[in-house]
Subunit: 249 residues, 8 copies
């Protein structure tokens, strides 16, 4: 809830003074004992706090989702499994789940998607991370185009798409194994490339470390890198850049 | 030289047909035998090729600078030492040198600097990398503000500057040792943070690997990372983003 | 049992001479064949031996707990699962279990808790380690205050607690992912900080190695570090320091 | 200068109002452009900022020492070489230099040393780090006892000193190669051990990483660890603990 | 079967010429298609080939044990589970199993055990590896004494046994976590120490790499090291040395 | 289908024009949405695309095999499990499965196998990788000879086979643990050796990294290396070389 | 000297029987005390022993070159510096030196170069390694074409050369930094690619380890890899393959 | 000096009572302030303390050599340079220096060398380490045979020496690069092999780590390993074993 929206509710009586006092008590963060929910984050950072579901205990997951829901926020949960989604679903009927990425979304106020972010993958095995990136970017208001399985071992697939990719504001490139795709794309475009190494591969792939190193050492300019399998992180920054370009301030 | 500029020269006779043919021969890249200069890069990527001076032999350095100069380009050379600068200076009188960063710049057509990029460092030892970032961002047309020595061990220094930092389009954060600064800044702003780990430190710092890992694993959203000591790379991407926000297309 | 307590029992006849001889036979250590229990440790180190339960076979676990119990000691077992607790419970009725940390405690003589140790965590996922630290510090006689989920991505949560934290004798700071929290806290306080990296995270977190490196390389003075996930170890040393400050000699 | 001292000078006129305004201008930190000196640190952290000399350029070193000197502070500089000391000596006549450790000290007000910190080394090659620790602990007001070359390959040397070591408030243990000494000492004492791995060794010593791992994984309780060769860091924390035990608040 | 024994059987007719031809056909190695059993190893190396059971498929395990059995050899199988032992038991009635170490032994001709090898462990968690070492050394004809749980955190346990340990021909020292025990023992004895790092530990223990590094970097002379958890390898070499000292040529 | 074969079908009417248009639509690659099948690869690289089954979801596996089958191609799938094979079997009756290697093959047009590739292993535990290499090399038209369990600990096994091995066009050498076999073989032959490190081993084997390093650092000339457990990759290149030697252009 | 050539010399008396006996004495290897020169290698491996000059002491270098020269062989020395070349030059007048690669060659019988090997580099900094590869391949009888500075950041440079590259028998691809070039080339050709990672780069390039990992994990088939900076090793194997294709047996 | 020798001197008056008291004062260890010389080591460990010269300051080196000399001991110093030897030479006329290994020896009482230790190397670059091993083994009373440059790339060199090597009591095998030699030798002998990895190599050799891993993971039984370049350590243990076999108790 925006500050203005809150104050208007108080002024016009649609929120009681008591509820208002309760609301302001958690204005900075809500203390749950085991957690401190950062309701202030949206004010400070434009995008609100996101729930990393993996590893959270059932009771904690439920309490956290409920607290955000009660606050009237759109909610994004990442890396959930179906069991966790069911817990959320019991509390929030309109929650939606992406089986591939494990993303839970609750959208109560939806603005039109703006701008354009490209999400590219080297192979089909990177799909899970790509979908997490897509869900995240859309949650934060960006329009997304996907370009899956355009890895460098069959360069014509990539070449046939390069103009379309370069018509985006930001380009997310996801790749495992040797991780060369961001380098090849960045060399052909004039938009920022955010590279996501994935843990796809085996042996000397070292669970994605090899792809991470490749991307960090790229000989092509215009690439920055996030953690292995961190589709969320790449999309968050891409959405930041996209909204600045689209003047969504 | 822009395509239109070239064609106008031919049309109005300020460039002979023979010179025009020579110019077009290297339109894609100029073959030097030991190197292939990518004159096409500027067309494709908006920003032209940059010369990484470190380790280049004297004859090669001279030939490459001369070829770019003859093409009529602004030139950026990074990681040069004074010996190398003297070689360049002999060829190009207007070349300038930043002793701290080792950057050589030749600017023949200078447009007004646009937008705003913040360059922040954790300590004074990161100065060399910060200056490389500043030179690069300015070369690519961005206005730069610097915030040096605002490391997290004295948080009030950072806090006193945070609003000014967040008024930028993009924030470059440079830090060695434990590399925590990008995380702390990103948590307080709504602009993209590009983090640069440095090799400053000793022992378990592992020549910057420790800071790189810190930044890649950050718990704060909105951070992407470049190679250790790669002030150039961070500034290149920051300038890309800055020009897109400023609609310098 | 203190030496004086033992001798008094002999003197007043509440322990027979035969039992006394048996007791002295194990004065240095008790030989179990597969293990040598270090009963002498408490005398030498002020704090007695602790039982690391993880990976111990059932019969061994039972024998070791029984031996300590027969010796009349308070007992601390760490990293037990519920199956192991049930084995202990069958032997020692008053044993207690912390489901989150996996700690088993048997306290027969409880002194008032002294001093003050702060246990801080960066996120909710560090809870398990934090509870192990809390149980351990209390077992060794320290009063504990907890400050959970005050990670650096929402600095106001930390700032609102910093004076309370600094009113402790020692500060334990537990964090995974990029592990920046100990650095930020240490920069604001004048008490020793013992940092515990956790294995919370993924990808380039390397199972906690990244956080460990961050903490070891901290630019803030006054930090020392223990093993990944070693809440016990941090609390042990914190309790040592706490008791020295409180003159519990 | 303590706040009270400052205010008394203003009150009794020994400092002019103009000088007082200048003093307060830098109360938080002094802006040098390339650096921000944290004069507030002493207030916040009890111990003031220390100057890490290594790698600092001559002009910067001079400016920083002068600024601290003008502020009327005791000054500690670590990891200086003789060239750097000479620069400092030109500015501050009473500066002293420890050739082995590279420590520069300027002490204008010296209180009696309190408590007792033990500084132990495994071998003679760890001397440089041990002296840095000794200088630092003394600078921060602690009395220091040294126990050099008591490594575990000749256990009787250690055993002959163990009671004396354990009579300290805190024990710093410095060792390279396999780094076993902190473990052996901690098993025999009831005081906190701060372990310093050193880069002494070769081959699989990995520049101290091996000793660092040894210390972090110690089977003996009561050990925490600082960075490789970080004698300063260990002594800083030891001095913190020492002053708390000695009630120097 | 020794060569002389074989020839005597032929001479006295207890083995037919046809069987003799078959026996000689596999004199160098027996070809099983998926494996080549090195029957010649015992002749060349004094000790025969040993079967590493872990990961072997059931049919392969059976065929290999049967082939060795048919050859009339004593057999040692390491790292077997109970399922595998049952397969072997079906073929060879007199096979024996050590549940802790997973060792299978078939001894048809048993000579008196010679000399003396000490097997020491730092903790109870190293038991599995210690038993593998013990089984192996005995299989190869050495008498073994065990000294379990004498880790360095309680030095008096070790000190009370050191003379007995040093009365052996060779000393095997097994330790996980920080792996300091071999160093401490080697410093007190005049017999060769073979050190076995174990994967016991967690976090920065890195699955035994930390203990391995500790042992390889030991400041005490007279230590050599084998692979992590390789109790077999240590015992093999100890038995080699033991038999040379005992003149069992 | 070769281009000529396609055109002949159109010319003689055995393929309708409509089917021909459909065929040409996918000439470069077939777009499946989640994947882009590279039908052009065979034309460009002589060998067509291979399906890496591991980790593929059931629906994707089915669609991909069907698409290749419909195209009339021979098909090779690697690293499949039995469940995946059953899915394929339902679609393609003539599919064959190698239980050990997990390879699925569909061969509709089989040419005579040419040349000779040797597949050698150090031990029986490398069998899985060796069979993958064998299946792959045969799929790509090479005749294969296998030499299993000729590891260097029993050199006579290797020596007895060396002439036969050297009579091949290319030699694939597969080994885990210390990975010395490729070095020893390469030193005795005049044919190229392609080395495959395997993850066979434990402890400091680091999942095959140790063997990979061994092979890359070999003191014997004529060795190149592929990823850990990458029997497919070694055989692919061996088959490339084999067909060039055999003039199968 | 070939065996037949030797025997003919004896038969026709151009070599005395005494010289023949001396020659045969070293037929297997020549014993120099500090070295054993493997004259037999050429017979066994088709290509003779090569001298790795780096780190050899002057006297040893001289003795080894002289011994090979006296044997009447063509000689290849790699990684020599000018000082070392001068030593060789004093002994062997016709020795030649490549300043860039540090290769010394002595060719007394030169056959026509056969076949065709492509040597490609990603950047100009890889020149040193490329020249080593070129010298080596030519020494072993292969014709070489070079394609320098065709890195993936300017893909059109590579594309313009790809058909010419693919007309070779074998393709050597040399690249530092992120090491993506071998993958991109392999995806476009039907010839074997031997990849050479170089130590060119900085920071997370880890002295070439990053490029090595990239190449080993390549998603393109048909790549095998040699050690970092090992231009010699790649060229040796390429020459082996080239001669087999050219039927130079 | 043996205890008996000392007491006889006292008894027969060749040492005064005062000198005897001084001698006994340092019986356990001699306190030099910066060092504690372990004179008791020889009594405890049969072999006395050895001086690791590398990195020692001049004054310390002089004092330590003088103290040992005054005690009447044979002295071994390792890893000295010529400058250090000159310092020693000024104090001890009979000191000898091995330029290759950097070993300083002072032998005043020389017993006949016993038994037989083989020192083998893979290449000529391992010479420095081999000579250190040889000097050390001889210092501790063992007869040594050397087998240099018998690396596995020319197996016939090794095979021609294997019987001679196996006639030793212990076999030291020194190798860099891929480090395969200990494995190949151990597979052919029935004596213990102590393997020494060396830092010889480049690139992925990782300064000897690769060879160390190879040796630790060896598939051949009977190998134990010491630190990279630790020729001293291998020889120390070999001499221990040799003297036990030779019954030099």
């Amino acid at each position: 809830m925006e500050d203005r929206e809150f104050l208007e509710k108080i002024k016009n009586g649609s929120m009681s003074l008591d509820d208002g006092v309760g609301y302001l008590k958690d204005y900075g963060y809500k203390e749950l004992g085991f957690a401190k929910l950062d309701f202030h984050r949206k004010k400070r950072r434009h995008f609100g706090e996101v729930i990393f579901c993996q590893g959270k205990e059932d009771f904690a997951l439920a309490e956290i989702f409920r607290a955000f829901y009660d606050r009237g926020e759109n909610i994004l949960g990442t890396r959930a499994d179906r069991h966790q989604f069911n817990i959320v679903k019991d509390i929030i009927k309109e929650a939606k789940f992406n089986e591939i990425s494990g993303t839970i979304t609750v959208k109560r106020k939806q603005k039109a998607l703006l701008g354009n972010i490209a999400v590219c993958t080297g192979g089909t095995a990177d799909l899970k991370i790509a979908e997490e990136a897509k869900d995240t970017a859309e949650f934060f208001g960006a329009y997304v185009n996907t370009f899956y399985d355009i890895g460098v071992s069959g360069l014509h697939r990539l070449v046939s798409k390069i103009d379309e990719i370069n018509s985006s504001n930001v380009i997310i490139v996801i790749a495992g194994m040797e991780g060369a795709l961001p380098t090849v794309i960045a060399g052909q475009v004039d938009k920022p490339v955010i590279a996501v190494p994935t843990s796809v591969g085996y042996g000397a792939g070292l669970g994605g470390i090899s792809a991470l190193l490749t991307m960090v050492n790229s000989c092509a300019e215009g690439i920055s890198v996030v953690n292995i399998d961190n589709g969320f992180g790449a999309a968050y920054q891409a959405a930041q850049i996209n909204r600045l370009i689209e003047k969504d301030l």
